[in-house]
Amino acid sequence: MSKIIGIDLGTTNSCMAVMEGGKPKVIPNAEGKNTTPSVVDPDKHTVGEVAKRQLVINPDRIIYSVKRLMGKRHKDASVQKDIKMLSYKVVEGKNGAAAVKIHDKTYTPQEISASVLSKLKKDAESFLGDTVDRAVITVPAYFDDAQRQATKQAGEIAGLKVERIINEPTAASLAYGLDKKQSHYIAVYDLGGGTFDITVLELGEGVFQVKATNGDTHLGGDDFDQLIITYLADEFKKEHGIDLRKDPQALQRLRDGAEKAKIELSSTLETEINLPFVTVKDNQPLHFVTKLTRAKLESLTEELIKQTFGPVAACIKDSGVAKTDIHEVVMVGGMTRMPRIVEEVKKFFGKEPNRSVNPDEVVAVGAAIQAGVIGGDVHDVVLLDVTPLTLGVETMGSVMTPLIARNTTIPTSKSEVFSTAADNQTSVDIHVLQGERPLAKDNKSLGRFILEGIPPAPRGTPQIEVKFDIDANGILTVTANDKATGKNQSIRITGSTGLSDEEIEKMRKAAEEHAQEDKVARERIEAKNQAETLLYTAEKTLKENKEKIKEELYKEVEQKVEDLKAVKDKENLEDIQKKTEELNTSLSKIGQEMYNKPQESKAEEGEVEQP
């Protein structure tokens, strides 16, 4: 069965997404970008970036912003206003509808939008490796029936069955899962490339109702860019008397610089615009280097930001919903990344807006979720559980050794081989732990058992395989198996994922809070373990090779062993490390000495860990 895709058919850019494995995924276009410019060359059948790049050379042939004409009549006031701004010809088509004329051919806005949708469809098909013939398409909340109908027709011309037309603000709310809560009011602030929309919705418990919508159809990110370019060009002109806007090459570099600065100032407080050799005066090259601060950008664009709040206030008033009754505010459109806009929205509504989903993609993501509901794969997704916390066992020095990391999708299993910590150890204690802390005592103990009957052997020799197995129901089975004898013992723990959310959160928080002291404690234990291993090796080497080692060296190593023993249980990490290092150096002298003598002697060492 083919998938239904969600499409945000925008005025400036379009975006698409699909539900996959129960999660929405944005589909990149053939050029590898997540958004596609809604620009069409109907003559050459090109769409997107390639069409947009010819806008300057073929202004009468390249169609952009056709969404403004969708389902409109030629005589409509808005169309008459738009005609003045659009570089292509808008004519009266069938039944007085607005249409586009290129050379001798007339195209309906539906046909132009269909070209955009066709490209999206084709790119989605090649991405998904499957035919795509159904879609959910979004429209602004203020679209009337004729505009919605036109959008639906555009889909059909493109070979897409339009399963549903949904409002952009509704889609954005769906992307945040706000429909799952009980019925409440939501405001959606959408500042895109060329339009601004504000909508108040009632959403939840199957209710999707637009209470009011408002906006400015000619206000967007492009206006912000223009202001920055004007400011920079004026600055340069003040200093050098040259207007960079008159030189296309310099203007292009200025435009790139302004856009880069705008983006950077969303995350930094100051940025540098650095354009060496930007122009020439009296045969001398001129460079443009200037700093732009976030504060300056904010003061430049203050008016534009203010302009959005007129419609916001009007929309709230029209909705009849008190500002304090708006439960959630959702941000849409690339411009809402600007910290000042977030701040102003927060100030106006008195609450932190939702903006964790990419604002360029949030509408398409919501459309995909709606598509998923229609296609049945949202309701019915098999929600595979994950382990909320890390699972592991206690090892030498009371350390928690993780086997299954938190957030691992279950069912899963994992095993690791451990060994004994002492010579002739015949049993091991398997202590199963859950938590994020490095020390065993700080984690939750899920259970413990003893594996007995291990044949006596030097430490590190036995091989004990510990296996963790979690089934789809979250039931954990831990098995320990002595590889030499095949003896095994196991424990079944039912509560491994059944912690309450608060418990999980508490444990995670504790891990974060204690991260530093835990690190120190862990390092100390590791140093101690290392010291003990080395002491064991050293003593064994001394014992086994007493005759072969020079007395002087023997005494030296013996002394170092005593030194290390004296500090290994103390708190001072540096001391332990230093003495370990010293013993290691002396010990390696024995190795050297023995290698120099052509005698056979082998001291084997294995991994020494005690489960």
């Binding site: 069409a51 790049r53 050379i57 499957d130 296309p248 090459q249 292009q252």
Partner: protein, 148 residues
């Protein structure tokens, strides 16, 4: 549970299983192509900012010959070529929107030809890192002749 109930449940589960399996197989296929795409994207992210410096060097060269600048330019070109990046310098060639972006036009004897390259373009294999930024000629004269 009656037999027919069981059958329905079985069908439903089978359907879900097949869906999951299909999702997985498609994912598997895509992981590879996605891997390639991500690699190109990573290259694009790393290389593109350096192209900006190369633009500066190109711009500097317009203000007279300087051996040192030539050497830097040569070094830079050498590095990006070794990374598999190909330069697009379409001066005098017909305008191709697939790899060029037109930012201005000027009257010329021939229609649709690149008269100035403001910024060179770059591609890597089939992927376009950045289009060349150009001025293109248009023949307004022709139009005038047509109109009486």
């Amino acid at each position: 549970m009656t037999k027919s109930n069981k059958d329905t449940k079985l069908e439903e589960l089978k359907h879900k299983y097949l869906l999951a399996l299909a999702d997985y197989q498609n994912l598997e296929k895509r992981v590879w192509s996605e891997h390639e795409r991500l690699q190109t994207e990573t290259y694009r992210k790393v290389i593109t900012p350096f192209l900006d410096i190369k633009d500066d060097i190109d711009a500097a060269k317009k203000f007279g010959q300087h051996d040192g600048i030539d050497l830097i330019q040569h070094k830079m070109e050498d590095i990006i070529t070794k990374l598999g990046v190909e330069q697009i310098n379409p001066e005098g060639k017909p305008f191709e929107p697939e790899i060029m972006e037109c930012i201005s036009t000027e009257e010329g004897s021939e229609h649709n030809r690149v008269t100035k390259v403001h910024k060179k373009g770059y591609r890597m294999g089939t992927s376009l890192l950045r289009p060349a930024i150009v001025t293109v000629s248009i023949t307004n004269l022709q139009k005038k002749e047509e109109t009486p």
